[in-house]
Symmetry: C2
Subunit: 293 residues, 2 copies
DNA sequence: GGAAAGCCATCGGCAAACGAGATAGGTGCG
DNA sequence: CGCACCTATCTCGTTTGCCGATGGCTTTCC
């Protein structure tokens, strides 16, 4: 049993046929058949049931499949580890929440790019759920998400603590009156966003129900419309005064218990931490270095 | 880069020489040289420094080495997973503390062996520290140890809660007087045992210092000598009445906080849980099944 | 200083494995 | 029944891998 055998095996399992797998592997069908047969002989039992429309996994094949993926992942990771000579370089794919990007990351991105020109940084934004999935599937090396996550395959470190607040049009004094108005609109970044769920909970707790949610794709659009009085939103308070000037929107604090959100950095427990990632985390905040250990 | 290349690589790294590795791999030296050179070409950088006494790993080689072990482990595990058709069979190596064996396991061993005759069960006893190391090194599939362990690579489940007590010669009424005696001897199973540390703490807290520790290798020897008045020991209370008859030694309870010890079952988070292991855990205590999930 | 031992790199011969193409056999569909 | 689609098997070059022998290098021990 060798890694290349498992690559053949995985391709057959995925495509459901020897011929299709051969196509995908850029070889011919007879070749695939032979390798699979050899693998089956080696393991002492059939991995596929053959039938007229292709093949399907046997019970033994199903047990083997996850290992095929693991071996292939580990080999790729080994190659990256060897290539990584301690000087940050190569591709680095990081995930982040939109708000974290605006608040914590974007101010430092230029700096990082200038400092490590040989790193090809990709920053993916998405919801906490999407990012977790991406890290688990090894599509992204790590991500800043809304914590706590508490997943056995993920290592997580708290890196930022934010305080959420309601934002309204400037000059609004009586938040409760606004919340009580019949046609209150809440503007959120994405409907699946974790802040949106939090917002709904908080509103419900104050007896505000049936709020209409609008979904704007960018923070800029949200703050512009909130400032213009279209509706309210809930975002980290430190966006005001940092990224956005004071006075653009009205700020209404929440009780500490409701306001607190922690941003954690997650990565696969079993994955290699590249030098590029280490450097990135160190650059974001010197106190965050522990996330790379 | 293939799994067999990495096997060659690991052998060379371990033996420190191509010729020695060839010997170990049952092949010739020229072969090893070629494979290593090919691997280096594939990875684009040298993995070994050559010198007159053999070879040593370069920095890149050091980075690769852990992956070689991981690949080989994963392949072996895959084979086991494929062979494991759900009916418990094959080798099963379990670790356990001596006391846990006596108290919880030994009564069920015969039953398990009769129920699953095709499982080759090996039970290794040792200290918590030794067993943890064994699990991490994959020498044993899982182990019952003194918890909590709290290691990122290990999954742990509390399976038993024991209460420790002092044991003395039968008929001893005044434990404090005994503890105050000048030539008090404490008998422990092994000096590295976790109960021994606990015992020392408890004695210190009561102002008893400078106790001589004797190390007897078996529980039987300990209980015999304690019963004869040679010294005291500290063991799970439920040994009395279960494994040993009441009256063989004197029992002196401890306060609940000091007495409580939990026995946890640990296994590698990333390792395959064989059907044999599942069956074993289910047989030990139906409530323990969660440890296998 | 010179012989010997230990080590790695390289080369040529040979066998096994591999990849490609062709063919046969089986099944479902119109 | 013919066609489309699938897998199994066979043959034939080519490639790869393994082996044994040889040579160059360094260290060690007369």
């Amino acid at each position: 049993m060798d890694a290349s055998d498992l690559k053949f095996f995985a391709a057959v399992a995925r495509t459901g046929g020897m011929a299709r797998a051969a196509d995908e592997l850029n070889t011919v069908q007879s070749n695939v058949t032979t390798r699979i047969r050899r693998l089956e002989e080696d393991l002492g039992q059939p991995l596929f049931d053959r039938h007229s429309r292709g093949v399907t996994l046997t019970a033994a094949g199903k047990r083997l499949l996850p290992y095929a993926a693991r071996i292939s992942d580990t080999l790729a990771e080994a190659r990256r580890a060897v290539d990584d000579d301690g000087r940050p370089q190569g591709p680095l794919v990081i995930g982040s929440l939109e708000t974290t990007t605006a608040l914590r990351l974007s101010p430092r991105l230029a700096e990082f790019a200038a400092l490590y020109p040989s790193v090809d940084l990709t920053l993916r934004t998405g919801t906490t759920r999407e990012l977790i999935e991406g890290v688990l599937a090894r599509r992204i090396e790590g991500a800043f998400v809304c914590g706590p996550v508490d997943h056995p395959e993920l290592a997580e470190t708290t890196v930022f603590n934010e305080r959420l607040c309601f934002m309204t049009a400037p000059g609004v004094r009586d938040l409760d009156a606004l919340l009580g108005s019949a046609d209150l609109k809440a503007i959120v970044l994405r409907l699946g966003c974790s802040y949106r769920q939090r917002m709904e909970e908080i509103l419900t707790r104050r007896g505000v129900v049936g709020v209409r949610f609008l979904e704007f794709g960018t923070l800029e659009a949200i703050v512009a419309c909130v400032g213009a009085g279209l509706g309210i939103t809930m975002l980290p308070k430190s966006l005001i005064g940092g990224v956005w000037p004071v006075g653009r929107v009205g700020v209404h604090d929440l009780p500490a218990a409701e306001a607190a959100v922690e941003t954690v950095f997650i990565r696969r427990r079993d994955a290699y931490v590249s030098s590029a990632l280490k450097a990135f985390l160190a650059g974001v905040d010197p106190a965050v270095r522990s996330a790379a250990e």
